[in-house]
Amino acid sequence: MERHLDTCPDCRRVLAELAAVRTAAMELEQLEPSPETWRAIRRRVMPERRLRQAWIWAGAAAVAATLVAVVFLGRPGPDRQDRLAAVATAAPEAARELGEQYDDYLRGIDAALDEIRTALDENPGNTRVRMALYRAHQSRSDAMDRMVSGGY
């Protein structure tokens, strides 16, 4: 690894960025993921093992669509159950739109990271630039956490 770093400026740059982020991150309080995060990951992983069976596909899709509806529309009461059928039908489209919006969000973050890296090449120790780098990585991490949790 060290021999490679001696000859590879790109990897040296990435290592410097990670060191800067780690330094800034050590200043922050420790946060634990919410329990919902792990439940959401488990929900995503478990259905994939059963996707070979067509009837499980249908059931998982219906549950996922209902979850999307619940996330978007709040806790359902007895007077809203008749709407869930219509929502579940259209929920894939809503989920697709939300996914596209997250993609746009992440593209903006990645573009910001490119700008910040260019600034770090010019002004490597500038505190504001390093804080911008940390915040951009944090925003990306927060967005991924929200996506996994099923929220926005």
Binding site: F72, A94, E97, E115, N123, G125, R128
Partner: protein
């Protein structure tokens, strides 16, 4: 004087902020990080202040192009010059190279065609082994009736009492305007705070929050990936957001709120509010109407639910719900348009309550 509040100074009719809201902790963190980094690197910063001044009567324009530092601009009535102070700070493992670099940084004020151009001129960078880093903070004092245009990166921009228009373009930093007129802000990756703005206001922001307090006349905010909060809006105001919240209260005039993939919460508590137009898609809306507030309400919600604790009619119409009703005489005209959105209306509505900004009314 509470933290974060803008108050009129008693002597010159100018707005001053009691304390910098929300940016304090980030500034403290940045300062602690700077100290930590300096201690680890064994670097001692080189600091220097440079001042310059130029003739700039009211009606002229000041243009600032800058990066790696903050900018503050204060408008003073009755002034006919522009004064600029640049605070230079250079750090690096090679202290001699840092001192030489810092000493050769110049502050340029160039005048042409009733415009003063402000820029920082840097000498040639030394060898990369010097590992220099630098920042230059600019403080401007200019005529209140001079127009200001600022383009900045990696720093905050603060403008106060600029009455002839200001245009701020900033990224990777916060923007704060107070007591300004006819303002335009284009910002990315930072918050925008506008207080006591009159004339026109246009804010386009992303990856940050927008806070409005006491905005009069025409105002348009387009934000995404952050929250928009407005208090004391008065005039023709349109707040649009994507993937964030919109919260408003103490609104008057005509207010339009548009949101997608977010939440909207609005308080209707002033009979000076003539129109409230809420458009939401894949969102949740909470409308808080005071019990004694007269109103006229109408709207359509596609594939959503309207829950209302007030005497209005909610009818199912296929996969739409149509709401209509009124109470008292006059009052604001409220229009609701939604798709895949739930609306909670009135003080007795059920459902989760969104966060309400604390507010103390003074009679």
């Amino acid at each position: 004087m509470a933290n974060g509040e803008w108050r009129m100074a008693s002597d010159q009719g100018q707005w001053r902020m009691a304390n910098a809201p929300s940016r304090k902790s980030r500034g403290l963190r940045a300062g602690l990080l700077a100290l930590l980094l300096a201690a680890v690197a064994g670097a001692v910063p080189f600091e220097r202040a440079v001042v310059n001044e130029a003739w700039c009567p009211p009606g002229w324009t000041v243009i600032v192009g800058h990066r790696y530092g903050s900018i503050t601009a204060d408008g003073e009535p009755g002034r006919d010059t522009l004064a600029v102070e640049a605070r230079v700070r250079v750090e690096g493992s090679d202290r001699a190279a840092g001192r030489a670099f810092g000493r050769d940084i110049e502050l340029s004020l160039a005048s042409w065609a009733e415009t003063v151009f402000v820029s920082v001129l840097y000498p040639e960078l030394p060898e990369p082994s010097a590992e220099l880093s630098w920042e230059v903070d600019l403080a401007l004092v200019l005529p209140a009736r001079a127009r200001l245009e600022v383009a900045n990166q990696f720093g905050d921009v603060t403008c106060r009492n600029l009455r002839a228009g200001c245009r701020v373009e900033n990224s990777f930093g916060d923007v704060a305007l107070a007591g300004c007129r006819d303002s335009r802000v284009l910002s990315r990756h930072g918050d925008v705070e506008i207080a006591a703005n009159d004339g026109g206001l246009q804010v386009t922001n992303s990856y940050g929050n927008v806070y409005l307090d006491g905005v009069e006349s025409r105002a348009r905010v387009d934000n995404c990936y952050g929250d928009v909060e407005g208090t004391g809006l008065d005039g023709e105001v349109r707040l649009a957001n994507v993937m964030g919240r919109i919260v408003t209260r103490d609104s008057r005039g005509q207010v339009a709120l548009v949101n997608r993939f977010g939440e909207v919460e609005a308080w209707v508590e002033d009979t000076g509010l003539a129109e409230l137009d809420v458009q939401a898609e894949l969102s949740r809306v909470r409308l808080n109407l005071a019990r004694t507030m007269p109103f006229r309400l109408g709207g359509r919600v596609f594939e959503g639910l309207v829950r209302c604790g007030l005497p209005v009619e909610v009818r199912d119409h296929g996969n739409e719900q149509v709401v209509s009703g009124s109470a008292g005489r006059g009052g604001p005209q409220i229009r609701l348009t939604g798709a895949w959105t739930d609306f909670d209306i009135g003080p007795d509505s059920t459902g989760d309550s969104l966060t309400a900004p604390a507010r103390e009314k003074t009679e």
